[in-house]
Symmetry: C2
Subunit: 352 residues, 2 copies
């Protein structure tokens, strides 16, 4: 809740729309927490997720994933019911949508500001303008603006580098926006949205919308990046201890790749680390243990390396709390949460 409040307040202070990404938590009940902060528009990463949240009362949804033309029927169904925002980055897809969309929707053009995953390069504003003109000339699509995900912020080595990514993103998006306005397009909005830049940035002046998602939970990766402090981390996975090996100082937990995902970070010693370790406490978990880490994962097993004193304290049958490396992927592997008050929160079904 505190993470949501903090991000909502920053957005409000800067006068930008807060359209949080719900792909991290995938839970209608957690979604409700956002309403307390005035959130009415959200982001999702798939048509499935858009259907789920629309059924749970969300009326303004952006699917921040390039339109998959195979899903046009379900997109039409959604567009008939809610205010739907689509993402396009190619002439082919845009034409297809224009020809097949039956209800009014808004289209954002995906801009690549340096992540090099999807989107039209920010250095090609004329290409963006051609797409915008196609959209504007269509019957059911209206041009919303330009949208980017500066995912290269995840490769930053320091908060200073994250700040540089934000600075470049802002300037590149403004550059494209200005070029579009110079060509006569009006009300071109700019939307950005990765958790690292949104977390370290205090104000979003000059932008129209932010779409972070991971910040609701944070995780090991974000802690390493400096996007959050340890206290901000709001999710962990309870894993029972099933075996111990004294010779190797290894504790075996029931918590493997099908629970945590195989995402890892390299620690300062160059070792693969699949999660930080903590112990349960009343209402949650204690500080991250400095003398333990998840050193490997197979399908169901996790191996926790723990130095002597800690190793001796942990017994078979105890619970360890694992802080995930990437909370989006860990949450995706689960289907419910338990709050620190013991309440069960459901997630969307894995497949609709």
């Amino acid at each position: 809740m505190e993470n949501i409040g903090k991000m909502a307040r920053k957005a409000q202070n800067s006068g930008v729309r807060f359209r949080p990404h719900f792909k991290t938590h995938q839970s209608a009940e957690i979604g409700e927490w956002f309403r307390e902060f005035g959130v009415v528009s959200i982001t999702v990463s798939s048509v499935d997720m858009a259907v789920y949240f629309s059924k749970n009362g969300w009326k303004d949804i952006t699917i921040a994933f390039p339109v998959n033309i195979c899903e046009i029927e379900r997109i039409n169904e959604l567009a008939s019911k809610i205010s739907l925002n689509l993402l396009v980055d190619s002439h082919e897809t845009t034409l297809f949508v224009i020809d097949n969309l039956k209800y009014k929707s808004r289209a954002w053009i995906d801009i690549d500001v340096g992540y090099k995953r999807t989107g039209v390069s920010w250095e090609e504003p004329d290409k963006v303008a051609r797409l915008a003109a196609e959209i504007e000339g269509s019957k059911n699509l209206s041009f919303a603006g330009v949208l980017t995900h500066a995912g290269h912020s995840y490769s930053a080595k320091s908060t200073k580098e994250v700040g540089q990514v934000y600075f470049d993103t802002l300037n590149r998006m403004k550059f494209v926006q200005n070029r579009l306005e110079a060509k006569g397009f009006s009300n071109v909005e700019t939307s950005v949205g990765d958790t690292p830049t949104c977390s370290i940035t205090e104000n979003f002046d000059g932008l129209d919308e932010i779409r972070p998602g991971n910040f609701v939970f944070y995780d090991v990766m974000q802690l390493k990046l400096g996007s959050c402090s340890e206290e901000d981390i709001a999710v962990s996975l309870a894993c029972p201890v099933v075996a111990k090996c004294k010779e190797r100082n290894e504790i075996v937990i029931h918590g493997g790749a099908v629970h945590l995902s195989k995402e890892f970070i390299l620690d300062e010693k160059g070792r693969e680390n699949f999660g930080y370790v903590s112990v349960p406490q009343e209402n949650g978990w204690g500080p991250i243990l400095q003398n333990a880490y998840v050193s490997s994962l197979s399908q169901e097993h996790g191996i926790v390396k723990a130095v002597n004193d800690l190793f001796d304290k942990i017994q078979i049958g105890d619970m360890l709390m694992i802080i995930p490396v990437h909370s989006c992927l860990t949450a995706d592997l689960m289907r419910e949460y338990v709050t620190t008050e013991g309440k069960l929160l459901q997630m969307m079904p894995k497949f609709l």
Copy 2:
């Protein structure tokens, strides 16, 4: 089906029990295919999975994961209904099970033959004997034998190395078995079960049981290890093309970490490879394309690097068939299969 038949025949020829691991496919319908080859006993990796398959008519199940003492109630419920085989590797867990198990079950002792994950080291047969004596002295547990998973076969660099792992495993298991029999234990069975060694080995003389699982589908990892040929690979993930980037020769698919898992191999050039690429054909898919591979994954996006001629042929809206690096983890992220005849096969629910 052919993979199952081949493995079943090899087991039969060697006179060993074939107790396939069902964690790879997790599907009652695929489970039925095994019955045609006389399979009546199976392996699973969790209590959830044991409950699911017991409800689908399987009466002899080994949970090849060290007993999680927190799950004793559900274990008792299972033990009241089916012939249940448990796995232990510590005095603490064994004692707990002895004190709390209410129905007859069999216990296997987990042996570490070199993988260094769980199990009593094969070099400590006296420790194994002490555990066996505890089991034999209990009311509801009977001692089945020694069980191992030689998972280090996955790190082998050649089929010759896989063969060496099998040879060592066989000898080490026989060594423990002999020591136990010398101490007066009778009918001590030996059970082994990783796909690489079971695939390259032609006969299992000297063993009592094999438990491979992945061989039902195989995958990129097994192909690289030499455990299978390309034609043996029996699963792939259909991923629609949503965008293309000419400058980088990249095709963006809707197929990310939440579909394929983040498991990767390093190719001969040292590049991370998250999957091989093929194109759909009538009744399946064509040969693995030599000029394309999945170079990175985010939550929903996959990036396929494709050289010029192929890049130009693939259009937005086309389907690409991705051969998973690790089919167990990819299957775990899905909830159903479509056979090459177009039949839908359900998997077990993600959580029971």
